[in-house]
Structure formats: structure tokens, C-alpha cells
């Protein structure tokens, strides 16, 4: 009896996953532990295993499709078996046992949409997009599968569709019809006023359109060779959308400062030499800075907040996002209730999350819910930078390298002091310059007097 492999659920907030790569061809034999395909959620990627032995009878989605969780993605059975029967009956579902969530007892509705090979998969579920956004997207032939929502919990709202519309040339009426049917939109049109007309569309409306993002032809006039073109996909695409959206929708500006690093370095050296039983030997400069941030930021509620649709939501608890450089790009895992953790616990949790991000095993819920973010580039020798807000957060602290700087001592002589660079980006929509300066000073003071931090009020 053929088995249906469904898109595993990745945490409670994930509605759909991007199918990034197939690892098994149709009619190829699979073992239960064999990886069938790779999928990506909001910010992490996962392997989906076959879970049963047999032959991959049918792939139900194309690479690049956004697939709702628990939707069938493939059928595995005996050679020659009819895959349609298995899908239509919705029986024998196989799920990745490691995926967490609710692996069993989820009945599959017989009416679940099944995409054919050459068509985009079903659009996101009803909760992933607002009704207004959906109406606009349908009227303007905007594919919502590739859209990154900026509404609550990543929901696609009207402005996301409008942003997508701004990013593409206008279409003629007939071209809209063809695009809705799957045609790709070129970067530039040659019809009236630069509109994209039918003649500009890559192929016939009914033709195969595996992925809009991949098949867009190069812009007219582009050289034919001498470069490598890589369409933005998966996490890169999400980062691109997030960053652009952040810069486009917030009024961010950065304040630069520095803090004396002598106590920071001294403490670090003591920890290093301490008894490993204390759990402090592995504490890094970054951990110490995060510890200070976790103590200072909650004192400024307007900084530990989200700005969504003109409304500021201040959080009591600090969930600290920590930027991690991974082979697939920037990930920001979140340390829950960072302000309530001891330095040792904070350090251990940070290392665990960073390792999970790099290995690609981080859970989707570990990548959401941040209220303030730290991005530390000190190890790379960066002396100052302008961190980009992780919207809808309203603040992010950039931490730079510790460098020697001349300072004027109380006695009027110039001394050389080791100082750590700090760059605080805030959203000026909600935080003014002077308060931002006070916040940066508080963080710098906390770092400079880190040896006293845990002892005072």
C-alpha cells in the first residue's frame, strides 16, 4: 500500500515550508532513513526522511514551492502502484519522526489540493495571508508563495503585496492573466509605458513554470557571459526581504559609542582560569556583553518592544536575539527570558543555539519571538557598523572589536585604553535621539563596570 509523505509540522507557528531541493528522483528506491527532500521554514532548514521503504512514486511539488504543513509532498510505494489512489484516500501518512509537533492523529482531508508537476503548489493557507492582501494579490497576479509577510507572526498583509507590486514593472491586462497562469515576469517591459506585455513574457501562459524566481530572463542588454547568476532562494531570499523591508519601513539610525574593556577582559581572564565546575571557563566577551544587555535593556521598556502597524508593544520579558553567521546566511536564534538567566546559563544557551543554527537543526520556534537583538562582529576586527533593525523590533546593538584608544585621564595626561565599540540602532519612530544616547550610555557603563553590575541595584 502506497504511503503519502507529508510536509512535517515545524512548531506551532509554522504554516508552510519552502521545498528547497529534492534528493530522490521519481521511481528511485528509498530506505526509511533516507533523506527525500530538503525544506526550509522561516529561518531554518531540515531534511525530510522517507520514513518507509519503497520506491518514490511521485513528487507532488516542485523545488521552490511553498508547501503548507501536513500537505502531501510525495508518495512512496511499490513499483507500479498508482500514487493517485494513495493521495486521494489520504492514507498511510508518513512523517518525519524527529520533526516534533504533532506527528500522529492528524487526519488528512481528502480534498487537500495536490499540485501537478509543472504547476506551482497551492498558495499559503488562509491564515498566512489577510483577506485584503489576498484580494489584491489575486487582482494583480502577485504570487504570494514567495512573499514574506510583515504582519503579526509573519502574516502577509496588504503592504507586503503592495511592496511586491512596487518591485515589478506594471503589466498589461492580458499579461496579468498570463502571469496568474504561471508566466514569469521579466525585469523590464516593452509595451506601453514600460508595461510588460504578452510578448515580454518568457513563455506561453500554459507552459511549465517551475519557479518564477529562477526562470526570469536576464535584463535586456546584460552581457551574455562572464558572470554567475544565482537567484535568491530560501533563507537568502528571506534575509533579503527582511533587510529591505526593515530599511524601507522603519526610521532607523545608529548611535556609536564605546566602553572601557579593562574589566571585561579581566573578568574573562578570571573565568578562563576558573574551575570548570563553575561553568564559567567557556564564557566569552560576547556572552559578557549579552549579559549586560540582558540586565540593562529591560530598564528601558520602549527599547524592548515591537512596532507593528503604528502600535508599540512593550514586553516585560527580554527575549534576546543573537545574530549567528552560518553557511546558509544570517540566522538570529532567540534566548528566551535572557534577563532571568545566569551568566553561565546564558553562555551555554547561546552556544547551543549557535551550534544548532550552523548545523541546520535549530527549531523554527527558536528563531522567533525576539524582542531585542545583539550582533557581534568584534571577532572580525570590525570597529564600527550600522546594524539593521530586526523589524518589528525597535533596537539592535552592534558590538565591535576591542581596540586601544587614547583617552584623557583626570590628571590631564593622555593614556591608551582598551575600549569596546558599541553601535546602537534604534527606530526613531518610537525612540528619540537623547533617550537613545542614554540607553547607549547605560549599556556602556554596564560594560565598563561589569565587575560591579551584579552587585548594585
Amino acid at each position: 500500500m502506497a504511503q503519502v509523505l507529508v510536509m512535517p509540522r515545524q512548531g506551532n507557528t509554522v504554516e508552510s515550508c519552502l521545498l528547497t531541493a529534492w534528493r530522490v528522483e521519481e521511481n528511485e528506491a528509498v530506505r526509511p532513513d533516507q533523506v527525500v527532500c530538503e525544506v526550509e521554514t522561516d529561518k531554518a532548514s531540515f531534511d525530510v526522511e522517507a520514513g518507509t521503504e519503497g520506491v518514490l512514486l511521485k513528487r507532488l511539488f516542485a523545488e521552490g514551492d511553498d508547501v503548507p504543513v501536513l500537505a502531501p509532498i510525495a508518495v512512496i510505494g511499490m513499483p507500479g502502484e498508482d500514487w493517485r489512489a494513495a493521495v486521494s484516500q489520504g492514507v498511510g501518512q508518513v512523517q518525519d519522526a524527529d520533526a516534533g509537533g504533532t506527528p500522529s492523529g492528524t487526519g488528512l482531508p481528502a480534498s487537500l489540493p495536490v499540485a501537478s508537476d509543472d504547476r506551482p503548489g497551492p498558495e499559503a493557507g488562509p491564515e498566512r495571508i489577510s483577506p485584503r492582501a489576498r484580494r489584491l494579490a489575486e487582482a494583480e497576479a502577485v504570487s504570494t508563495a514567495a512573499l514574506q509577510g510583515t504582519g503579526p507572526e509573519g502574516r502577509i498583509i496588504q503592504r507586503d503585496v503592495e511592496a511586491a507590486l512596487r518591485d515589478r514593472p506594471p503589466l498589461t491586462a492580458a499579461a496579468r492573466g498570463a502571469v496568474a497562469a504561471g508566466a514569469s515576469i521579466p525585469a523590464q517591459g516593452t509595451a506601453l509605458g514600460g508595461r510588460v506585455g504578452l510578448a515580454d513574457l518568457a513563455g506561453p501562459a500554459a507552459g511549465p513554470a517551475p519557479s518564477q524566481r529562477e526562470s526570469a530572463p536576464p535584463a535586456p542588454g546584460a552581457p551574455a557571459s562572464g558572470y554567475v547568476e544565482t537567484p535568491l532562494k530560501g533563507i537568502r531570499r528571506i534575509i533579503a526581504d527582511r533587510m529591505r523591508n526593515s530599511l524601507a519601513t522603519t526610521a532607523q539610525l545608529t548611535f556609536n559609542g564605546s566602553a572601557p574593556a579593562a574589566q571585561l577582559l579581566a573578568l574573562r581572564n578570571r573565568f578562563k582560569a576558573s574551575d570548570p565546575q563553575r561553568g564559567l571557563a567557556e564564557v566569552t566577551i560576547g556572552d559578557l556583553v549579552n549579559y549586560v544587555v540582558a540586565r540593562v535593556v529591560p530598564r528601558f521598556p520602549e527599547l524592548n518592544a515591537h512596532l507593528v502597524d503604528g502600535s508599540l508593544k512593550k514586553f516585560e520579558q527580554l527575549n534576546l536575539g543573537v545574530a549567528v553567521d552560518t553557511p546558509r546566511g544570517l540566522l538570529v536564534p532567540v534566548i528566551r527570558n535572557a534577563g532571568g538567566l545566569s551568566l553561565a546559563a546564558l553562555s551555554v544557551e547561546t552556544k547551543r543555539l549557535a551550534a544548532a543554527c550552523i548545523a541546520g537543526t535549530v527549531k523554527a520556534e527558536e528563531l522567533t519571538g525576539g524582542t531585542f537583538t545583539v550582533s557581534n562582529l568584534g571577532a572580525l576586527g570590525v570597529e564600527s557598523f550600522t546594524p539593521v533593525l530586526n523589524a518589528p523590533e525597535v533596537g539592535i546593538l552592534g558590538v565591535s572589536a576591542i581596540v586601544p584608544r587614547p583617552v584623557l585621564g583626570p590628571d590631564g595626561t593622555v593614556k591608551i585604553e582598551l575600549r569596546i565599540g558599541l553601535s546602537l540602532t534604534i527606530d526613531h519612530q518610537v525612540i528619540d535621539g537623547a533617550p537613545a544616547g542614554r540607553i547607549l550610555k547605560a549599556i556602556a557603563d554596564g560594560i565598563g563596570d561589569i565587575d560591579l553590575l551584579s552587585w548594585g541595584r
Partner: protein
């Protein structure tokens, strides 16, 4: 030697509009014209014929007033007065054009110009240089090799016909294209006996076949001889061979030669300058660039679309290209497109169209849907022209995606409403889209809406 930003050779619609647009953008422009400012269109083409046609329409309205309860007595034609009105309109238009060119700072040089090479022109006995040269030398009437037409005072072209001191009693028109049909209609309206001899089996070969036949039948006062080859002309007697091979003869007072126009590609240095001329026209790309750097060509001389409004658009495309500098960022899309150029025949009645005819769609292998609606189906047309007046709208749509491919119309107001159809084509509107467009009521253009619902 004098320096300019741009030199324009020829002041017809393509030339004068290019000069205006460039001057408006702050460029120093020299407009070289050997004849009358405004070119053929303004002086001996579009404008004088439409003026005389207006006179003819007033005459016909007076004659037909009885049908609408208007009693008019002693209706007559004062040809010298009509000619005077024509001259007044043309002269005032030309004066207005000259004033607006000068106001924008365009220097008008009444002289013959000669292209020497990229950026170099000789005009008025002086070498002149410019970063951009626009060739807009227009076209001329084709003189066919028919025995007896050369040096025959009874044989005229359209320019000669419009200048007649007195109306002939009868006129034989050789050629049933736009100019032949328009002038046949005009003179027939003025009571002249008109016969048209056309080589092809139908008039106006670019028209949809159904519509061409409708237009021909609507011009009841004109006798058409189709599929007939003119053998010779003697005085004002035209001998032609009919389809059945039998030789026939038309005895008229005057013969009009109207077998078309061809681009003016000689006499101004094209060959010497090294300009690429192919099939009797200056070769241009979709930005109106020629093979020579810094030399653009617009209008009839390109042989692409011999229409004043095509020349206007070509001029704008060329100017956009000239004004585009690498520093000003990515090029806005300004390319010459020919698939939505509307055309008009100012006959009696008018005809107009845009896009593909049924036959062209077939030739391209496009499966179509089509619908034709007679104009009397809409109230305003019936009220103004009666219930038996000829006129129809024909819509052609792509069967695969419902996009409107062609709109064709015979009947009053066709010339004034066809631009809307051009927008439909440019915007690639589909049948369903047009059904959502609100047309004013009561109007003749409602027939387009009716036709969309018939599709």
C-alpha cells in the same frame, strides 16, 4: 561653421515635432526646410484635404436636410470660397507652427539640407555640426510608368488636384488606396463624376476585407473598377484592361494618379554620407537610430508606417533616445512599436482601424474570435444618419487568451474614437476587460461595447 545640439532635416510632422521636443528640453535646434514649413501633411496633404472635406460635408448635409426636416433651397458649391477657406486654415496653421517653433527657440532655416556624415550637415551654403541629426525628409507621390502620364496637363497628383481653380465635371482616379479613396469621396461629394481604377480586387488593401467592401459599397457616388490594370492615358482618357482581359476606356475631364507614396531617400546626401538605405527607405532600429552614429531618421523616410501620427511618435522616440544620457540612469522604455498604430480613411463615410485584420491574424496562424455590429444598432448613429446608413464595427480577439487584436470601423466618428481602440491594444485588454469599460450613452462608440458582448 555653426554648431547646434541638433539639426533636423525636413519640417513635416516628424521633423517639426522632433525640433519642438528637443528645443523644449533646452537643446539648440536647427530645423532645415527647403519647401513650406509643415511639410506635405500641413500644406498639401492631411490638413487641406480635411478642410475641403469639411466643406463637402456641409454641402451634403444641406442636400440631405430634408430627411431631418430641414428645408434648404438653392444649395450650391462655391469652389473658390472653399479653396479660400482651405488656404486660410493652412496658412493659419503654418503661422501657428512657425510661432511655436520660434517661441521654443528653434532656428528655422529655409534651405536645402545635405547630410555629409555623422553630426555634419551642409545647409544654406554653410557646414553645420551637431551632436544629433534627425533625418525627416518625408515621401513623394509615386509616378507610375504608364504611357501618357508624363507631361500631360490632364494628369495630376493629389497636390495638383487640391489646387484646381475649378471643379472638373468628371475625374478618373488611378489607385484605390487611402489617398485615391479619400479624394474620390471628396470630389464625388462635390458632384464630380468619379471613377476609380484599382489593380487589386478590393480597395484599401490594408483594411479588413469585410470592412473594405463595406466602405466601397457605402461610397455610392463613386464607380469602382477593381482588378483593372491601367494600360495608357491619352489626354484625360484612361485605357485599362479589366479582369476578363477586355480593354475598357474611361473618358474623364481629369486624371488623378494616386498609386502611393515612396520615401525620399535621394537628393540630400544619404548615399554619400554612408547611410544604410534598403528597399527604398532609411533603415532604422526601434529607437529610430540609423547605421550612422548620431543620425536618427523618423517619419515616411523610414518606410515603416507612412502616417503623420507614426512620424510624431517616431520623433518622440528619437528625441527620448537623444536626450538619454548614460548619466541619467536606466533608460526609460521608449521604443517604436508598430502593432497599435491606428489609421483613418477620411472618405465619405470615414473608416478607421487599429491592429490585426482577420486576414493578417490568419496569416500569423492566430485562432481568432470575431464579431461585427452594424452601427445602426446604436441609437445615436441611427438618429443622425438614418436606419439604412452603412457602417459597422468589427472586433477581432485572440481565441487563446481573449485579447483584443483588432478593432475596425466604417462610419461616422470612426476617426475620433479609434484612439480608444489603440489604448485597448496597447494595454492588451481582453474581451472581459472591455465589457467592464463604461462607454458614454448615446454615442456611436457604444458599438464597440456591443461587439465585445457579441464575442
Amino acid at each position: 561653421m555653426s554648431m547646434h545640439d541638433a539639426i533636423v532635416l525636413g519640417s513635416g510632422p516628424g521633423g517639426y515635432l522632433a525640433a519642438e521636443r528637443l528645443a523644449a528640453a533646452g537643446r539648440k535646434v536647427l530645423l532645415v526646410e527647403k519647401g513650406a514649413l509643415g511639410g506635405c501633411c500641413l500644406n498639401v496633404g492631411c490638413i487641406p484635404t480635411k478642410t475641403l472635406l469639411a466643406c463637402a460635408k456641409h454641402y451634403l448635409s444641406a442636400l440631405g436636410g430634408g430627411q431631418f426636416g430641414v428645408q434648404v433651397e438653392r444649395v450650391g458649391i462655391d469652389w473658390p470660397a472653399m479653396q479660400a477657406w482651405k488656404r486660410e486654415v493652412v496658412d493659419k496653421q503654418r503661422a501657428g507652427l512657425e510661432a511655436s517653433e520660434k517661441r521654443l527657440g528653434v532656428e528655422i532655416l529655409p534651405a536645402e539640407g545635405r547630410l555629409l556624415g555623422p553630426g555634419r550637415v551642409e545647409a544654406g551654403g554653410e557646414l553645420r555640426q551637431a551632436g544629433a541629426v534627425i533625418v525627416a525628409t518625408g515621401s513623394s507621390s509615386v509616378v507610375p510608368r504608364i504611357p501618357g502620364t508624363q507631361g500631360n496637363p490632364k494628369v495630376v497628383d493629389s497636390t495638383g488636384l487640391l489646387e484646381l481653380a475649378a471643379l472638373p465635371r468628371s475625374l478618373c482616379v488611378i489607385g484605390g488606396g487611402v489617398i485615391g479613396v479619400e479624394l474620390a469621396g471628396l470630389f464625388a461629394s462635390l458632384g464630380v463624376q468619379v471613377e476609380v481604377v484599382e489593380l487589386m480586387d478590393e480597395i484599401a488593401p490594408f483594411m479588413d476585407r469585410d470592412q473594405a467592401a463595406l466602405l466601397r459599397r457605402a461610397m455610392k457616388a463613386v464607380r469602382f473598377h477593381l482588378g483593372c490594370k491601367v494600360e495608357s492615358v491619352e489626354g484625360a482618357s484612361v485605357t485599362y484592361r479589366a479582369k476578363d482581359g477586355v480593354e475598357q476606356k474611361i473618358d474623364a475631364d481629369l486624371v488623378l494618379i494616386a498609386v502611393g507614396r515612396r520615401p525620399n531617400v535621394t537628393g540630400w546626401g544619404a548615399a554619400e554620407a554612408g547611410l544604410d538605405v534598403h528597399a527604398g527607405a532609411v533603415v532604422v532600429d526601434d529607437r529610430m537610430r540609423t547605421n550612422l552614429p548620431g543620425v536618427w531618421a523618423v517619419g515616411d523616410v523610414t518606410g515603416k508606417s507612412l502616417l503623420a501620427h507614426s512620424a510624431y511618435r517616431m520623433a518622440e522616440v528619437a528625441v527620448a533616445d537623444i536626450l538619454q544620457s548614460p548619466a541619467s540612469g536606466p533608460a526609460p522604455v521608449s521604443r517604436m512599436r508598430y502593432d497599435a498604430v491606428p489609421w483613418v480613411i477620411y472618405g465619405n463615410p470615414e473608416a478607421a482601424g487599429v491592429g490585426l485584420t482577420e486576414r493578417e491574424a490568419q496569416a500569423r496562424g492566430i485562432a481568432i474570435r470575431k464579431a461585427t455590429v452594424p452601427l445602426r444598432a446604436v441609437a445615436r448613429f441611427a438618429a443622425e444618419h438614418g436606419f439604412s446608413a452603412p457602417g459597422a464595427v468589427k472586433l477581432i480577439a485572440d481565441a487563446a487568451n481573449d485579447r483584443i487584436l483588432g478593432v475596425h470601423m466604417v462610419g461616422a466618428y470612426a476617426s475620433e474614437l479609434i484612439w480608444g481602440a489603440a489604448v485597448m491594444l496597447e494595454q492588451e485588454l481582453r474581451i472581459a476587460d472591455i465589457k467592464q469599460v463604461i462607454f458614454p450613452h448615446p454615442t456611436v462608440c457604444e458599438a464597440i461595447r456591443e461587439a465585445a458582448w457579441e464575442l
